[in-house]
Symmetry: C2
Subunit: 423 residues, 2 copies
């Protein structure tokens, strides 16, 4: 917890003096460290090195479905890859499109499509006035960047321990026909690690949007990405939504980017079979089909959903110590910061003294430690309290992480002292 | 040549009777053949089977550039892959973006981007009224489909043996600010096999468009895809355009789809370095980067541009006999059809008796031979003379191709007889 009591001027000065000396020392080390993005490290990437050559000649190319994965065709993906994703998500292959290496591309493209062509042949969003998205905060900067790019107004929604503030979501969605979407990361949310409660998922499924073309962008980026040996279970939103006749309101996304290779995996979009038929109408214009050979590699290497899930234990074993290290370093900031204790995902979310997050990131940068930009977790990069910093522990090795957290620690205290002296 | 003299009623009746009997016979064979798309056959795909496992473990992943191709990053592609495309196209790496497995996706995305965001931060096309593209005909159906999807008006431009009718192109481009683009396949054009002359390329480079945001979509799909042992040389449009200060008017596309794997290759967009900087602004919102591992496979397997070009001789050796077979079968249609003799590319373009192309395709379909839809080579699928049929010889084996051409031969004569009897 951040202490509520205001520092005396003398306390602030003592703190500043101490932190300043420490800062000068760490700065002199000339570090060059990066904790800015949620990237897997090399050891994680090497976990599935067999993936690279599990499809190695033409005889292994004609898959069960009889499709030559090397040739054109199949805009919605290899049937075997659709089945693998369907099994992982508890859905059917008819509810799946398997794309290229990036689910972000699929989200971007869906928003782009709705802007110019409308949802299911409806009125294009861009012709409906100033459309809006609800943005649970803190959240994922790349979601917000898509909205900003398409000039979609973003309405921040506070996160609670159970997920987004559903009272506000329900009210805005039911009142305003220009509210067209909401970004959700339902499990181990970026950056807070929040797992949506069953009741939150149910309330999403039961939304009564004023706009018939309102869509939930359910970015299940960390759906099996646990840290502590068990995978949080939340209800299947698409199945829940069916109970309310809302199955077309749901668009789900996930990928193998943090399962196999961050840059060379396979991504998936899931939706009602009826929605998928509409999406395919665009795909046949846009592409001659995704890279089915890479889809085949994933099918061949992992075999089935159960193996994929077991594989995630190996990732957890590599990154858990990094999270533990960061958390233990953060303990030293008791009184100057509060932070999350995630059970999965890729981030620890840290709140520092109000009005100092930008300064902390700047101080770290000047001492050679690159953090995610302060504000990145808010629409337009504007954190109203300038306090949230997303720490990404996965990429650096442990020793670098320790060094980086040392700098972070000093920077947080120094910035707090500066703030107290300025107030 | 198609004979000009009108058949007498008796001639037509005799032809009909003969062709009808033949047609009944071929129909009874119960064939199931497909000549509809320009797909490589399995032997072509097997030419580069070493591509699949030339990157097989983590030690081979950190490439010259020091990038771990398995991880996130590099929205414009692996530096080594950019260099390979640059060498093939006679350009510099700064003029290249390497994408996923499909250049069609890149063309679609560029048009989509210009519709909503304008060219280089200009006024979005969709806000400028009814924008138009020039469409050399016959042409590539997927280009036209992109225009149709975005409600872009298509103006057909006649093809000449030297490329599009440049008098008309120059006039329309200089007169009409709503003309925003033209689709070009400059070498071995789809479907006529036309190679644009040096003068045509020069006139493209020197265009004086009324619209500052006019763009040439230069789809170099068959840039090294010869059939007869030599690759046609045409001037480098981007370099030519520089001479007229027009370098930002040119967008080039090509891919390895018909070099390595049709469904699992790598694609490229080339443009002025300044244009590429604008394009990257969208890419950083849209994606965390292309599949660099597949780019690395291509770099590793082919090594350099010269090897890629040599590799194309092997493709030519496989598909040349198929083209020769189709051409020799077409000889039997002297008087009933005229056709191209391409030196490269994937198609033979056949003109049958005016008003019979749709009927020929229908007769073939009913006898189990699938052809490209008649009209597909024209905007909106409307061939004003209903005479052009695109024959795609590459995919079927020789014996099937011979059987299919037998059906085609009968269908062309039967349709001509029907037409003569109805006139």
């Amino acid at each position: 917890m951040i202490r509520k009591k205001k520092m005396s001027r003398q306390e602030a000065l003592d703190l500043w003096t101490e932190a300043w000396h420490e800062y000068e020392n760490v700065k002199a080390q000339g570090l060059k460290l990066d904790m800015s993005r949620g990237k897997p490290d090399g050891h994680q990437l090497s976990l599935c090195h067999g993936l690279m050559d599990c499809v190695k000649d033409e005889t292994s190319c004609a898959e069960e479905s009889g499709i030559d994965c090397r040739n054109y065709g199949g805009v919605d993906g290899l049937p075997e890859a659709k089945k693998l994703f369907a099994d992982l998500l508890g859905l059917t292959p008819a509810e799946i499109v398997v794309g290229g290496n990036s689910s972000l591309v699929m989200m971007f493209d869906n928003v782009a499509s709705n802007m110019t062509h409308g949802v299911r042949d409806g009125v294009p969003w861009q012709k409906q006035g100033q459309v809006k998205f609800l943005c649970p905060v803190p959240g994922y900067d790349r979601h917000f960047a898509i909205c900003q790019y398409f000039h979609i107004e973003m309405i921040p929604i506070e996160m609670t321990p159970d997920g987004p503030d559903m009272d506000t979501v329900e009210r805005l969605v039911s009142e305003d026909e220009l509210v067209k979407g909401i970004w959700c990361v339902p499990k181990y949310a970026n950056p807070d690690g929040t797992v949506y409660s069953a009741e939150t998922v149910r309330r999403f499924a039961a939304l009564k949007p004023k706009a018939p073309d309102f869509r939930i962008y359910w970015d299940n980026a960390y759906f099996i990405h646990h840290l502590n040996g068990h995978i949080a279970e939340i209800p299947n939103l698409l199945r829940e939504a069916e109970k309310y006749g809302n199955e077309n309101m749901v668009l789900m996304f996930c990928s193998f980017s943090k399962i196999s290779y961050a840059g060379a995996a396979i991504a998936c979009m899931a939706a009602s079979a009826s929605n998928i038929e509409y999406i395919k109408k665009r795909l046949v214009i846009q592409t001659v089909g995704p890279d089915k050979l890479n889809q085949l590699r994933h099918v061949r290497y992992f075999g089935n959903a159960e193996n994929v899930i077991r594989h995630m234990d190996k990732h957890a074993a590599i990154i858990r110590p990094k999270f533990e290290l960061v958390l233990s370093e953060l303990e030293k900031l008791e009184g100057f910061a509060e932070w999350t204790h995630p059970d999965g995902g890729y981030f620890i979310s840290v709140n520092v003294t109000d009005g100092t997050a930008k300064r902390v990131v700047q101080l770290c940068a000047e001492a050679g430690v690159k953090l995610t930009e302060a504000g990145a977790t808010y629409p337009l990069g504007i954190d109203p309290r300038d306090r949230n910093i997303r720490v990404a522990p996965t990429f650096p090795p442990l020793d670098e992480l320790k060094a980086a957290m040392g700098v972070f620690n000093v920077a947080v205290r120094l910035a707090a002292a500066e703030k107290a002296l300025a107030d």
